[in-house]
Every structure is written in structure tokens, then in C-alpha cells.
């Protein structure tokens, strides 16, 4: 029992050449974001009256939310289905989702024209708007994610709050606060975990509803009334590949053995999930007879084929193969393809499929837009690396017997 892996704060070196590069990319992105706040959206983007939404909405927001889906799929598996054997992946997925949604929120702040009014949807409601639903759900879900993270904070710091110097006087009240939080959450965390899963299914699907109102401005290959279902199914399908992808990178980066036992079992579920998604996608194509558009080699048809073939069909076949599931390398490749597929799908839906009736230019993201997107992703990776050194997130095999204090292990709903 004591030899089994347990979430532990990591103590590997923080600064590596990779971290240095990420820091530079992050600084560049932050600089452009500041320029956008000072000089307006037009100063750094290629957005126009023809193309009001671009890379920031398509990738940072839409793809960002989809790729953070590991948070709710793993919570459903680990906590709702009570599969103890998957607990090793729940915390990394939770941290990814928490950071992911935080950066989605940041991207929204940068993208909306009047960022200082970001709180308006809280008090000014429009129940007809899919965007209102997405906005409100994302805000609430982000709060839920932070609450779900609190037990990790209490586990780490109860009895260990040791601020130095002028702050030392708050050590005791802070410790008391943590203990109260811990006791409260111990009995109630399951309420938040279920809420997190419900909120996720709601806004993951409503993100798909967003483009339906664009009607004929959207290419028929993507414009379908079942878009919300396709968005939800693809988000569910990309959840586990995203966890596998991260886990394999993290174990390599932190010098740990890949958790192949858990990852293979996760991988086994991806095939059927991708199959369901593909079934609806192809079924929709045949019912609406949109395959006729695939006959012309346009940007749209090429992107559609790439998205489905590279991002769904090939990884679907791979995930069904036992030898792929056993190999860290092939599992990594297959997971990367699913992630690429969902990324392409969101780009296609929000950018490629969108053709304004009076288009005179073709939208292509500016250097500034790319800088912010790349910078924010870098910042997210850095934050992940930083927080895994402070909090017990990543499961590490234990050499010495685990201490059995009250706060040693905190699962959920115990």
C-alpha cells in the first residue's frame, strides 16, 4: 500500500531550457495583450467588420474549453463512478481544467471590446443567447473548479502555514480558516463535483450552438442543428486523450515512469467515444447530403477531410489496437491526433466555415493574435509546472511509508 504512487509536490529543477523558451513566448504574448488593451483590438489583430471573430475566439476560447474537458470527464470517471484506480489522473486533470478555464477567461477579456464590462452578463441576462449561457456556465464552472481544488490546498497547508516576518501574525487565523474549509468541503465536495459535470455538459454543447445563428454565413459542411451534440461528443472524446497527452509529457519532463497501467485503461475508452462522435458526424453528413461539397477541392472541403480523417478516423483505428494502447509512444501519437482533430474542428467551425456575404478579404490571424495565443498557452504550461511543485498534484511512487496524518489523503465523497 505504501509503495503505491501518491500525489506529492514535485522537487525537480524549475528552470530548464524549455522553460526559458516558454518564458520568452509568454512575455511576448503578455506584451501584445497589453498593447491591445492600450491601443485597441484593431492595433494588434486582423479582425474586421467582415470577420468579427478570429483566432482568439476559435482557438483560445472554443478549443481551450474543449481541451479542458479532461477535467469533467475524469471527475465523472473517478468521482461519480467512484473508480479509485483512476484517482492518479484526477488531480492533474483538475489542475489542467482550472488553469485552462482561467486562460479562457483571460482570452475573453483580451478579445471583448469593453473588457471592463465583463461582469455585465452576471446582471444583464439574455436567455435567448447561446453566448450568455456559455458565459454564465463558464464563470460558474470556473468557480466550481477552484472550489474542487481547495481540498488540495488544505491537504498541503493545514498545520503547515509558516509565513515569515510581518505576515507571521496571520499564520494562526489562516490555519483555522483552512481547517474550517477542510471540514466544510469534506462533506460537501461531492455537490460541487456533480455540479461541475452538469455545467460542463451544458456549456460544452452550447459552444456548438453559438455558430448556428450565423445561418447561411456558415459552410454547410459544418452548419447543422446537431452542432451542440457534436461539440459535446467531441469534448467528451478529447478529454481522456488530453489527459494521456499531458501525463506522458509530464512524466517525461519530471523524470517519472509513465503511468501506463492507468493510461492504457483510459485509452481503451477513447475508441468507442470517438466512434460515437464519428457516427453522428458522418450520419449528419449523409442526412443533410453535404458530402456533395467534398467533391470540390476548396479550403473548406480539404479542412473538413483533414479534420475527420486525421483527427477522428486514424486515431479511432489506433485506439482500438491493443499494441498502440501498450506503447507510450503510439499512445502519445494517437492522443495528439485526437487533440489536433478537435483543435481543427473548432478552427473550422469558428474561422474556416465562416464566410461573410460581402467578404473582400480573407481572414488570416495576425502576428499579434498568434503571439497572444502562443503566449497564453506558454503561460499555462509554466503555471502548471509551478503549481505541481507547490501542491500535491502529480502521483509519485513513495519510497518511505506514507505518513498517516488526518490530512494525508483526501479523495472525495468519503
Amino acid at each position: 500500500m505504501n509503495a503505491s504512487p501518491r500525489p506529492t509536490p514535485l522537487s525537480t529543477k524549475f528552470f530548464t531550457p524549455g522553460v526559458m523558451i516558454l518564458t520568452l513566448l509568454a512575455l511576448n504574448g503578455v506584451a501584445v495583450a497589453v498593447a491591445r488593451l492600450l491601443f485597441g483590438i484593431g492595433a494588434v489583430t486582423n479582425l474586421s467588420d467582415q470577420y468579427p471573430w478570429g483566432l482568439w475566439i476559435g482557438v483560445d476560447v472554443a478549443a481551450g474549453v474543449a481541451l479542458a474537458a479532461g477535467g469533467f470527464t475524469s471527475a465523472a470517471l473517478g468521482h461519480v463512478m467512484n473508480r479509485e484506480d483512476y484517482h492518479a489522473i484526477v488531480r492533474p486533470a483538475l489542475l489542467t481544467a482550472m488553469l485552462g478555464y482561467t486562460f479562457v477567461a483571460l482570452a475573453v477579456v483580451i478579445d471583448i471590446g469593453r473588457w471592463y464590462y465583463i461582469w455585465h452578463p452576471l446582471v444583464m441576462w439574455n436567455g435567448n443567447s447561446a453566448l450568455f449561457e456559455v458565459g454564465l456556465c463558464v464563470m460558474i464552472y470556473m468557480t466550481v473548479l477552484y472550489i474542487e481544488f481547495l481540498p488540495i490546498v488544505t491537504e498541503r497547508f493545514v498545520g503547515r502555514v509558516r509565513l515569515k516576518g510581518v505576515f507571521s501574525f496571520i499564520n494562526r487565523p489562516l490555519d483555522t480558516l483552512l481547517r474550517i474549509l477542510d471540514r466544510l468541503l469534506d462533506k460537501t465536495i461531492f455537490l460541487f463535483i456533480i455540479a461541475g459535470v452538469v455545467l460542463s455538459t451544458l456549456h460544452q454543447s452550447s459552444l456548438g450552438t453559438l455558430m448556428i445563428i450565423a445561418g447561411p454565413k456558415m459552410h454547410p459542411l459544418w452548419q447543422t442543428p446537431i452542432l451542440p451534440l457534436l461539440f459535446l461528443l467531441s469534448a467528451v472524446a478529447v478529454g481522456f486523450p488530453m489527459i494521456i497527452f499531458e501525463s506522458l509529457i509530464a512524466s517525461r519532463s519530471f523524470g517519472l515512469k509513465p503511468e501506463m497501467a492507468v493510461l492504457s485503461r483510459l485509452g481503451r475508452m477513447v475508441g468507442p467515444l470517438l466512434g460515437i462522435y464519428l457516427g453522428f458526424k458522418i450520419g449528419d453528413m449523409f442526412i443533410r447530403e453535404t458530402f456533395v461539397y467534398l467533391a470540390d477541392p476548396t479550403t473548406e472541403s480539404v479542412m473538413f477531410v483533414l479534420e475527420v480523417l486525421l483527427g477522428v478516423v486514424i486515431p479511432l483505428r489506433m485506439f482500438l489496437s491493443p499494441s498502440v494502447l501498450r506503447s507510450p509512444l503510439w499512445l502519445f501519437v494517437a492522443s495528439s491526433l485526437v487533440i489536433l482533430g478537435v483543435l481543427l474542428n473548432r478552427i473550422n467551425n469558428f474561422i474556416i466555415a465562416y464566410t461573410p456575404p460581402y467578404a473582400s478579404v480573407v481572414y488570416y490571424p495576425s502576428i499579434g493574435e498568434i503571439s497572444v495565443t502562443v503566449g497564453f498557452i506558454s503561460l499555462l504550461i509554466l503555471a502548471y509546472r509551478f503549481l505541481t511543485r507547490i501542491f500535491p498534484i502529480v502521483s509519485v511512487p513513495q519510497k518511505s511509508p506514507a505518513p498517516t496524518t488526518k490530512y494525508a489523503i483526501r479523495g472525495s465523497f468519503q
Partner: protein
């Protein structure tokens, strides 16, 4: 002919004033009033003088007047934040070609996509016809621009603070003061008629009936996207004048029924919550039973 038109215009304006005051008493917001106002654009009467562009700028305190020469007309300009309306030129079907001029501005849909889309409800369809933008609510997300099938709302990308969504406001301030929209008032050819939308449709039908050679038998905006307050008559097919080909369904139809289906009295989310809670309880009990057995 002229006197009849004048008479018509006066009648329309009078009914307009009456119905606006009536609309102020307000019925349910989502059902357009039968007395709502509209504007009928007769492109066969327009000579492309662009007085309407200038009048619009004056009425909205825009600084720049359009240039006197019409060299920019064939450029197919779009309304933007320097001009809420523009007139574009299209070569006509006749030999030698006689150009058609098309005034472009917000169509003021009866069931606006932008209104349904707006995250904070900053865009609203007034009972009396106009679709208006509220700068105190707007967060600048530009979803209205995504939703608009006519590509009308324009955003001030160059402004860091208080960028505005700009589009034709139906001269709401002038209407409230009992005037007609600036473009209608100034038009020397009376190509624009302001009045009760229902009456305008009758007028348009009559025009088509009396001059079948002059008009294509189609009132653009009568049914497009569920109907619009601005409607057009033309000789050519509207497709040739670059009007979007839209069905009769309002833009928000599908998205709203999906939204309201997912959230029908919060039954689906609450049921899902209960289902997951039950699942969690059952799996926990089963796990405890297994542990006991070991």
C-alpha cells in the same frame, strides 16, 4: 402622380406618429406590433445622388460629408463607423445599361439575429420597428456581427476604450420628436417611403401590379429572415444586386429552440444532476460492499 405620392406620404407619416405613441404602451416584446413602421426603398426611383448618406451623417453628427463625385459608388462600399448608410451602384439589365443604385443600411429585422445573440441584451427590437443598440450594456463581444445575415453591425476596432457597435438606428431621436428618418426626408426622388409596414407592403404590391415592366415581382424584406422593417423594390433580381438569399425563417429560430430545449424550466440540467448524484451514491455503496467482502 406627384400629388398622390405626397398624399400617401403624409398619410403614412400621420399613421406613423400615431402608431409610435401607441407602441410606447408596449405589448410583449417578442411579438412585433402590427402597426410597426418600416421603410420602402424603390431602387428604380433612386438616381444615386447620395443625399441620404450626407443627411444620415448630419443627423448622427458624423464629421465627414461624402465627396461630390460619385466615383466611389461602384466600389461596393459597406456601412461602417464612418457612415451608417451607403449607396452602391450596379449595372442595370438594359441596353445601354442604366445603373441601379442600392442604399444599404441595417434592415431592422422583425426577429433580429443580433438581438437574440447579444450576450447582455444590449440590442432590442422596439415595438414600433427599430432595432437599437444600448451602449451602456454592450461588452463588445461582436456576436451580433456574427449573427447578422446582412453583415451590418460595425465595430470600432481602433478604439481601446468604449468602442461602439454602429449601425442605422432608424433615426430614433428624430422619430421620437415626430420627424421622419433623415434619409427619407432628404430624398429628392422620393425613393424612400416611411410608414406602417403593412401599408408599405400594400403600396409595393400596387406598384408592382401597375408597372409590371418596371418591377421584379418580389418585395425583398417582406418575408426574408422572417421579415424586415426595410423593404426593397427593384427591376433586377435581388441576387444580382447582391442581396443575400435568405429563407423565410427568422435567424434566431433554430438556436433559440435548442437553447430553450436544453434549459426547459431547468428540467434537463436538474435531472442530469440527480442522475449523476444517484450514480455516485450507487457506485459508492457498491465499492463499500466490495471492501466489506474482502
Amino acid at each position: 402622380m406627384e400629388t398622390r405620392r405626397d398624399f400617401l406620404r403624409t398619410t403614412l407619416i400621420t399613421t406613423a406618429a400615431a402608431s409610435v405613441s401607441e407602441a410606447a404602451r408596449a405589448a410583449p416584446a417578442r411579438i412585433p406590433s402590427t402597426d410597426r413602421m418600416g421603410i420602402l426603398v424603390d431602387t428604380t426611383a433612386c438616381v444615386g445622388c447620395r443625399s441620404c448618406e450626407a443627411a444620415c451623417k448630419r443627423a448622427h453628427d458624423y464629421p465627414n460629408e461624402p465627396t461630390a463625385d460619385n466615383s466611389t459608388i461602384p466600389a461596393r462600399r459597406r456601412p461602417g463607423h464612418d457612415s451608417l448608410t451607403v449607396v452602391n451602384e450596379y449595372p442595370g439589365p438594359e441596353r445601354p445599361p442604366r445603373p441601379t443604385y442600392v442604399k444599404v443600411q441595417c434592415m431592422h429585422c422583425d426577429f433580429p439575429g443580433c438581438e437574440s445573440a447579444c450576450i447582455v441584451g444590449a440590442i432590442s427590437k422596439k415595438e414600433s420597428g427599430p432595432v437599437l443598440w444600448d451602449g451602456d450594456k454592450c461588452i463588445g463581444c461582436r456576436y451580433c456581427m456574427v449573427a447578422c445575415p446582412f453583415q451590418i453591425p460595425s465595430f470600432e476596432y481602433e478604439k481601446a476604450l468604449k468602442p461602439e457597435i454602429e449601425k442605422c438606428d432608424f433615426c430614433i431621436r428624430r422619430i421620437d420628436d415626430g420627424n421622419v428618418p433623415a434619409c427619407v426626408e432628404v430624398c429628392p426622388m422620393e425613393a424612400l417611403a416611411y410608414g406602417r409596414r403593412a401599408s408599405l407592403i400594400e403600396v409595393a404590391r400596387e406598384k408592382i401590379r401597375n408597372n409590371p415592366d418596371r418591377y421584379n415581382d418580389h418585395i425583398y424584406g417582406e418575408f426574408e429572415a422572417g421579415g424586415t422593417s426595410w423593404m426593397y423594390l427593384a427591376k433586377a433580381e435581388f441576387k444580382e444586386l447582391e442581396f443575400p438569399e435568405l429563407g423565410r425563417d427568422p435567424m434566431p429560430g433554430t438556436s433559440e429552440s435548442i437553447q430553450h430545449g436544453i434549459f426547459a424550466y431547468f428540467v434537463p440540467p436538474v435531472s442530469l444532476y440527480a442522475l449523476l448524484g444517484g450514480l455516485m451514491w450507487i457506485t459508492k455503496k457498491r465499492k463499500e460492499a466490495e471492501e466489506m467482502a474482502e
